[in-house]
Amino acid sequence: MVAISAASLSKSFRAKVRPAGLRASLKSLARPDYRVVEAVREVSFEVEVGEVVAFLGPNGAGKSTTIKMLTGILRPSSGTASVLGLDPCRQRVALARSIGAVFGQRSQLWFHLTPADGFRLLGAVYEVEPKALGRKIPELVERFGIGAYMDVPLRKLSLGERIRCEIAASLIHEPKVLFLDEPTIGLDLVVKREVRALLAELAKRDGATVFITSHDVGDIERVCKRAIIIHHGGVVVDESMKELRHRSLSRKYIGVKYASPVDLDLGELKPVKRTPTAASYVVDTREHRLEEVLRALVGRGELEDLTVEDEDLEDIIARIYEARP
């Protein structure tokens, strides 16, 4: 069953253009120039109920614009979107009751109130029965470990504490689909790890459909089963994490260290880094047989160390971006 679908979804904005200089500014005052910016171009995909999907792309790729069209915040310029069978734009209020959204850079809780007050307000906004809300809040507090700061005004919390509260708050009405837009942006490594663990647990335990936009590959590796990669407003990759990982099999990173200086050139295969006794190679296994490369390296001299590693997911995605400048 399809939870989210986008068919040829596009969004363009009219942006005012103002060239530099006083003359241009005066001209712009009388006759402003506009440029049409295509933020999202013909994006199509489907997400099944219960899937946890990563929506990846570099800054400005159109990720956030897409998520905003799917949550009914922005109206598409063309194409159609459907979430839980509803049109996000036309049936915004009905849809809002069944989805949750966390925008990493924006707060849904009130800045000057405590999370406890914010949770009660959101519960009322989503028309949760007061009794049910009374049971739900302690459950979320325990699950997200936020008991210590429920009575502290949001503005006094650290970013990590705030994000925990924001994610917990987005679950107050038990949404069927959860949209997370850059949920770990600005967090330090430790807090990022905590938030990712929470998201992974959330997807596993609740079976909710989760749609995450991020440009942080770490978020995706820990939480998602499928990745859609968007670049310059269009989808460039849509495959399972397993398939995405398979791309790494064609590229190996070899590190080698010898007891004494040796000749490190292997014909066509040149080291990407070298010292007299050590070198690193990037081997494309479609061009060079791994076994032959390893045999050649072993035969060069007395080995002290040899490592063979797969390519990082981050590098794979970076290559995908670079391949479509």
């Binding site: 956030s64 905003k68 922005l74 209020v93 000057h112 109130l113 007050d117 028309e127």
Partner: protein
């Protein structure tokens, strides 16, 4: 709880949350309270000078005139200047994040504004009464009916003030720079009923003013408090305010509906 009650409850909870938020800032109460006191003090002195040798001006005695000013200023101080924050939200795109919730945008904002105005209004009311007793003399309220009408009128005035500011703020969807509209609105509100009663304007100016919402913002509550016009006239004045409350609300809904397609999110 029934579905209609659950639907309405969100607006009540939003208003209560706004009261809580307003109470979080004791410092701002102090600063704004001082401004209100200074404003009342300065104008009580100006009116004292204007009344030199006169028993009344446009039918108001000196004491009534000072009470008039205290009441006329109260709704705008209570409502505050939500235009600036609302307008910033529209320009920055922050407002777009508020629409993905199951509520009526105008009603939800109005509930918050009403909550804030209630918290501020009660504080200003207490301060205004003390200032009036100090600078104008006894409270010119002679019956429970007059007191109730004055309180209702003050609440209506603050509500209309908030809605008109919201409507002007929403022009940000079309005009990049809309502060001039607010500037014109606030200056007209000051001249048409706040600084002086409408009776001091020429007859033509009065006739024109009654076709605008400005008398509902300051003149009506101030007149009811300072120079009780009698129950039938007070009822007509309250009716005038209720009509403008409904009109302002509908205007906000219409502007919001028209603006909905213009939402953009900066950096999105």
């Amino acid at each position: 709880m029934s579905a209609p009650r659950l639907k309405l409850r969100k607006y009540a909870v939003a208003a209560i949350a706004a009261v809580q938020e307003r109470l979080a800032y004791r410092g701002s109460f102090l600063g704004e309270g001082l401004t209100y006191a200074l404003w009342v003090f300065v104008f009580s002195r100006i009116w004292r000078a204007a009344y030199a040798g006169r028993a009344e001006l446009a039918g108001y005695g000196l004491s009534q005139m000072v009470w008039y000013f205290i009441a006329a200023e109260l709704p705008s101080f209570a409502a505050g200047r939500p235009f600036w924050s609302l307008s910033d939200d529209m320009k920055s795109g922050q407002v777009a994040y508020l629409v993905s919730r199951p509520y009526d945008f105008v009603a939800y904002n109005f509930s918050q504004g009403a909550g804030q105005a209630l918290a501020s209004g009660l504080a200003y009311l207490a301060e205004g009464i003390l200032l009036g007793l100090a600078f104008a003399g006894p409270l010119p309220v002679s019956s429970v009916l007059q007191a109730a009408a004055a309180l209702a009128s003050l609440a209506l005035a603050a509500s209309i003030q908030y809605l008109l500011q919201l409507a002007i703020a929403m022009t940000a969807f079309w005009a990049e720079e809309n502060s001039a509209f607010y500037w014109i609105f606030s200056k007209l509100a000051l001249v048409l009923g706040t600084l002086m009663p409408l009776e001091m304007l020429s007859e033509t100016a009065q006739r024109v003013t009654w076709w605008t919402p400005f008398p509902a913002l300051a003149y009506v509550p101030a007149r009811i408090l300072a120079a009780w016009p009698g129950a039938p006239a007070a009822a007509r004045l309250l009716g005038f305010q209720l009509a403008w409350l409904a009109l302002s609300f509908l205007a906000c809904e219409a502007i919001y509906a028209a603006a909905r397609s213009r939402f953009a999110v900066n950096g999105g």
